[in-house]
Assembly symmetry: C2
Homo-oligomer: 169 residues x 2
């Protein structure tokens, strides 16, 4: 028995995006309770040359739709990066989940050996669907989810690893 | 075509651990160049109630060997959490990579539908091998790799996402 490309991609992306949405709801409530300007929280970074919270959420969304669209062999949808509020980020996440869930399961299942070429810093880097998913797309997507979590943890938002994992402990 | 349980686990763990090792080498060099006490860097945290860098590396190691051992159906090796230097953390990572690489590939390939039960906050949470890998073990492992990276980024160590991804851009 082996893993299905679909099971290894779409539910993983949806679980993490759903967890991100829940974490951002806790962050918004924290900002309200502590009278923190939401814009300050959304603009927070772990280092001056890292992306802020808003951008981490946008890139996580890009990572999810890019991963799933490439596996399904469809054109990548372009979302304008115009979100400036928690509500708009929640809408972006919901739209991303809808897109990912709406893709053709059979097309994704058939992607394990399909060639996928990425441009990284100007160079073409060839992957198979399987190596793209496990060696690039999921680690990259997860990077931005965890960084968003880390920004909020560094601000004192009361979240824990099980919020990120989306698992009932 | 589908994904192999082995390809979706062991190379993913090894790639991330190898990247973590390279990132820690850059961190050590940064500490030396800036005359930062390595113990201060290893004890750094993103928030007072988060684990420090040393512990993040230890837990990433635990996550990798726990993931691979459970999939292979062998007993989890216990590593004493006694590392206090970069060199000791490098040895821990190398030992983890050796363990993961040494497991029986066929046993891991056959794990997709095997039941794996985790204790989370005292509750038994049942998984299949496939759902354990994609829904818990890899997100959990990656969480600690990214958090280690984020700690070092917040300290000004000159690393970028491609160091984490272990991809040549």
């Amino acid at each position: 028995m082996s893993l299905s490309m679909y099971q290894a991609s779409v539910p993983v992306l949806v679980r993490a995006l759903t967890a991100l949405s829940a974490i951002l709801k806790k962050a918004e409530a924290h900002a309200e309770a502590r009278k923190i300007d939401p814009a300050v929280m959304l603009g927070w970074r772990l280092a001056p040359d890292m992306f802020n919270l808003t951008r981490q959420v946008q890139i996580a969304s890009d990572g999810a739709k890019g991963c799933a669209a490439r596996l399904a062999g469809v054109e990548l949808p372009s979302f304008a990066d115009t979100e400036t509020t928690f509500a708009e980020l929640q809408a972006r996440i919901a739209k991303t989940i809808d897109f990912v869930k709406g893709l053709d399961q059979a097309a994704i299942e058939g992607s394990a050996e399909r060639e996928i070429v990425l441009k990284l810093r100007g160079n073409d880097v060839p992957f198979t669907g399987a190596s793209f998913l496990t060696g690039f797309a999921l680690p990259n997507f997860t990077f931005h989810i965890v960084t968003a979590y880390a920004i909020l943890r560094s601000l004192g938002v009361e979240i824990g690893k099980l919020d990120y994992l989306g698992v009932q402990g």
